[in-house]
Amino acid sequence: MGNILELQNVKKRYGTRWALNGVDLTLEEGEILGLLGPNGSGKSTMLKLIAGLIRPTEGSVSINGSRPGPEAKAHIAMLPDADHIYGWMTVKQAIEYVSGFYEDFDHEKADRFIEAMGLDTGMTVAHMSKGMSERLKLVLVMARNADLILLDEPLGGIDPTSRDKIISGIAKEYRWEHSAMIIATHLVRDIEPLFERVLFLKNGQGVLYGSADELRARYNGSIEDVFKEVFI
């Protein structure tokens, strides 16, 4: 299996504050990484750097051997924390718009996902609830057969019923052997069964990294228990 993602001593500074301070990471095909940490630990910054939405102050990011740019973006599917879909678009228009830019967009997968998520294709994005909007964002990401999938707080502000739908949707449609995925979250409990590896971030630095199973065994508990031990 080849490396999809490589981060070498990546740092990002905003003004005088280091949001990310020397992170190294390698991700191979098939891996799902849980990127965990409290608010302000640098999780979103790291995903934005990988997606090419911001640039590192120091260090390098490489996706399939090339730096973030229009070519690399064709292989990345990102679900940001922000509500980034145009409010005037309907679900159908949003899917038509986004799918046009990506060769790996699978319309059948999108249809399955829309049905599973209970979305109305004629509904306008601006009129959607937070949960529906998150589910639409997930459809746009998971309908792609992208090499690298980045999910930033996919469960943030979502009710428990929608959470279950989202997690089962991810597990069902993820291409287990052809893609890599990073899920950044501070809501660990519901989503931790998906993690193969886990990176804990604190103040922009990686403080704990390893296989999810090994960490569970070492700390004799769930990843959420490890999270509490590391951050509380």
Binding site: K48, A51, G52, L53, I54, R55, G69, P70, E71, K73, A74, I76, M78, P80, A82, D83, H84, I85, Y86, G87, W88, M89, Q93, Y97, V98, G100, F101, Y102
Partner: protein, 272 residues
């Protein structure tokens, strides 16, 4: 194809306000048209001209907004995650800006010409020949303004996009950086084009007498026939419509350069 998709999105986003503005301006102009003979002579035309001027100001302001809107509503996350080049994004925004304001400026200009001619006609003192000559001159003047209007609009659009990408790159003192990055290229290009005009060869200066451009001969003949005599060629002697191609080339090259610089900044420096 990326450009077409991006342009379609811009069009879909703006189509309601674009359509509404087209209808509103038509209604306003029809209202001015109905005021001919009721308001003081020349007033409907003057007010219609002020609307054209107002749209010029609106175009200047809007030239910043097309990119700013993306950041205002968090849509920059989607825009910057697309696998497209910066010039496709900015090209689509510029093309839509031209569609919207080009249509408004040209239509309102045409409405204004119609109101002006209707006012002239309503005076009932002109013969058909004379009126035909005046109408021909007005439409020729309108035609003469089409290309410069579109050229200036394109320049304003590029400057607005360039200015906002510089603001995105520097991220501090937005208003001052935006103002400086708008004015500085204008000032530099203006100085450079003046310098180039001084040394450019004679064949690059193209000048046509205004009396020929406006086809005033038809008005002269009509006046002759009705006993009046006005020698426009003499009256406008020395008045030319001129263009210096060297200057146009400097401005065009400058605008293309600014467009590509803005595209590079958007692709390589702008952050969400």
């Amino acid at each position: 194809m990326d450009f077409v998709r991006l342009y379609k999105k811009e069009f879909m986003r703006g189509q309601r306000s674009f359509g509404a503005t087209l209808v509103i301006t038509l209604c306003v102009m029809l209202f001015f048209f109905t005021r001919i003979g009721r308001w003081d002579t020349g007033l409907p035309t003057l007010v219609a001209m002020m609307v054209v001027f107002g749209f010029g100001i609106a175009a200047f302001i809007k030239s910043f907004d097309s990119l700013k809107e993306e950041w205002k509503h968090d849509n920059q996350y989607l825009m910057l995650s697309l696998p497209v080049r910066g010039y496709s994004i900015l090209g689509a925004k510029l093309a839509y800006f031209m569609t919207e304001f080009g249509s408004h400026m040209l239509l309102i200009g045409a409405y204004t010409a119609i109101i002006m001619l209707a006012e002239i006609r309503s005076s009932n003192t002109l013969g058909n020949d004379l009126y035909g000559g005046i109408a021909s001159s007005v439409w020729r003047a309108y035609g003469l303004c089409v290309l410069p209007t579109l050229y200036i609009l394109t320049g304003a659009g590029i400057l607005g996009l360039f200015s906002y990408t510089v603001v995105l790159t520097i991220k501090k003192f937005g208003f001052w950086v935006g103002t400086a990055s708008y004015i500085l290229p204008l000032w530099l290009l203006s100085d450079l084009s003046s310098a180039v005009m001084k040394v450019s060869p004679g064949w690059m200066h193209i000048e046509i007498p205004l009396s020929k451009v406006l086809s005033l001969g038809q008005i002269e003949s009509a006046l002759d026939r009705s006993g009046g005599v006005i020698n426009f060629a003499g009256l406008l002697n020395g008045t030319y419509v001129g263009i210096d191609m060297a200057s146009v080339l400097v401005w065009t090259a400058g605008m293309i350069g600014l467009f590509y610089l803005a595209s590079w900044l958007l692709e390589n420096k702008a952050e969400v």
